[in-house]
Amino acid sequence: MQDAPIVQLEKVSKIYQQGQVEVKAVDNFDLTVRAGEFSVLCGPSGSGKTTILNLIGALDAPSSGRVWLEGQNLAELNRGRLSRLRRDRIGFVFQSYNLIPVLTAFENAEFVLSLQNVPAAERRKRVMAVLREVGMADYVDRRPDELSGGQQQRIAIARAVVSEPAIVLADEPTANVDSEAADTILDLMTMLNREKGVTFLFSTHDQRVMDRARRLIRLRDGRLEADENQDR
């Protein structure tokens, strides 16, 4: 039996106004992502990868069409419920890591659990477990500016997965790190997917990420060009 869909996009379009010009970033796009997938949205710059992640992550709203997350139509949720949905069900990994600069590695990883009011003792246990998995247990007291790009991205991954979200959306996670760090990050994500069943949806044009993907969703000019399952 197939897993229930976590994400469904139905005839989604997103149009941006740039001065007098309308730019169609996403055009009549359909997509279904199921639990446990390790999928990649790929395509050239401007093909709509990041926009689709933003729409799925409830960071932006479509111009037309519908986005469902675990059966909830995002258009029907108000700001507060969208905020809670992002907190509880979605993990984000950004291209520029986007850790909170004044917080330590531990506090950054703990941030979402704090928002969820998880008791301190349980928070500590869960955060330390994840930091050990991403290999950052020895850096808990370091602030982002004391960490390398690869280390920051590992903390960002820990922050994204520690609350056990339904899906982790990773926007170009290897774009700002060297190839060694990129391999480490990809190993880590692959391990989390295989061993913990974390669902990942990436946007990338990095071939190394595409090579690891089990599903490759190719985009061009905001449209679906190909949807390929790769045997891994």
């Binding site: 992002r86 984000f92 909170i100 979402v112």
Partner: protein, 407 residues
């Protein structure tokens, strides 16, 4: 609690940003406290010069004397009035008032002659320590007079010079005598500067042949906290047959001028506050706007708009609390120092001078009061919290996707 924790981490760990903002606030607060104390001191000195110098806080006259200052219209039982007023909590001094013509060499001019008891008057007014040259009156030297600064110029006299005084005595005879200028006053008021001539009460009585009574009793409250209107009413009830007026009634124009000065100084203070408030505002706006991408990430992770608003406000309160403490720690001692060591503007203004009838000293003292300390601190809190509302609302409302990519 969690929000406060996060706010404190943001404030204490963003050292550069925090200290720039706090330093701006502390500097603004310190300047505001000092400036408010200086203006408070300046206003108080204006009032003191207007009141303590010559008029006193209250005066008692025989009925009708103020409308028609007749030499014969005296308070007959002056000793009894002074005794009763003293018992009621006032410090009193009797005065004799007359007019005449003063001449020295080729110069002459009309003068307003005041006979005073130096020992008693010194307790009520401050004329005795407002002598520019020479010395103040002495009971021992009855032919010595002290004159106003412009009168000295008109008559071309200085301490040690002689002048002749001519007048109409109470017995109808022509009074005239030779006096020595004992001292010249600093600027007191236009009236005193141009025509004020002070002599001892004994000398006045001898010159005008007026053996008893006084024309005016000048009073000061021993208890300064008692409102002037209450003290006036109390004194009026005590002497229903005499004319009792406080300085605001005696010099209504001066009172209005001081009130107006008060208002205009408050406006000036507010303008200064607004200027330094802009300094704070700018530092705070920069502090928030440079963090927009960070706020975007927080919102993306599920931090709600209202919590973000609360976080920014709490951070601001924490910063203002530190800034205000530093402002107090620096501004109050600075003002206290200048309350003892005045700012000296003698290089701009030689000696004291008169503006709109009020004497000005070139030395400005600060006066540290509750208002000069509390108001700037409250203003600092008010300005900072008002200033932060706009960026805080903007941050709370911003779409995460726009904020994350904000440059």
């Amino acid at each position: 609690m969690q929000l406060l924790h996060l706010a404190l981490k943001n404030v204490l760990r963003s050292r550069h940003r925090t200290w720039v903002t706090i330093a701006a606030m502390a500097f603004a607060g310190c300047i505001m406290i000092f400036y408010a104390s200086l203006l408070q001191g300046w206003l108080r000195s204006m009032e003191r010069n207007a009141v303590d110098m010559e008029t006193g806080e209250l005066q008692i006259h025989a009925p009708g004397f103020r409308q028609d200052p007749d030499l014969y219209n005296v308070i007959v039982d002056a000793k009894s009035v002074i005794k009763q007023a003293s018992a009621a909590g006032f410090i009193c001094a009797g005065r004799l008032l007359g007019s005449g013509l003063a001449a020295a060499d080729e110069n002459s001019t009309g003068v307003s002659i005041r006979g005073i008891d130096p020992a008693a008057d010194d307790l009520v007014t401050r004329l005795h320590d407002h002598v520019q040259a020479g010395r103040w009156l002495s009971q021992k030297e009855n032919n010595g007079v002290v004159i106003g600064s412009k009168l000295a110029t008109i008559l071309a006299v200085r301490p040690g010079s002689e002048l002749v005084l001519v007048g109409q005595a109470a017995d109808g005879s022509m009074a005239n005598d030779l006096y020595t200028v004992r001292g010249v006053l600093k600027s007191v008021s236009q009236e005193v500067d141009r025509g004020g001539l002070f002599m001892t009460a004994a000398a006045f009585r001898a010159f005008f042949v007026l053996p008893a009574g006084v024309h005016e009793i000048v009073l000061r409250r021993t208890l300064r906290s008692e409102p002037l209107t209450v003290a006036t009413a109390r004194l009026r009830a005590l002497f229903p047959d005499l004319e009792v007026k406080n300085w605001r009634q005696l010099q209504p124009t001066l009172a209005r001028l001081l009130d107006l000065s008060n208002v205009s100084l408050i406006i000036l203070l507010l303008i200064t506050y607004a200027a330094v408030g802009m300094l704070t505002l700018n530092a705070m706006l920069m502090g928030v706007f440079e963090r927009i991408p960070e706020f975007g990430v927080m919102k993306a992770l599920g931090f709600s708009g209202s919590r973000l608003f609360g976080l920014i406000v709490l951070e601001t309160v924490a910063q203002v609390a530190i800034g205000a403490t530093l402002a107090l720690v620096t501004g109050v001692p600075l003002s206290l120092y200048f309350s003892v060591h005045p700012l000296d503007f003698s290089f701009l203004l030689r000696g004291s001078s008169t503006i709109a009838g009020i004497a000005f000293e070139p030395q400005w003292y600060c006066e540290v009061t509750r208002y000069s300390v509390i108001l700037p601190v409250l203003f600092l809190f008010g300005a900072a919290l008002t200033a932060i509302i706009y960026p805080a609302v903007k941050a709370a409302m911003i779409r995460p996707v726009a904020a994350i990519h904000h440059r």
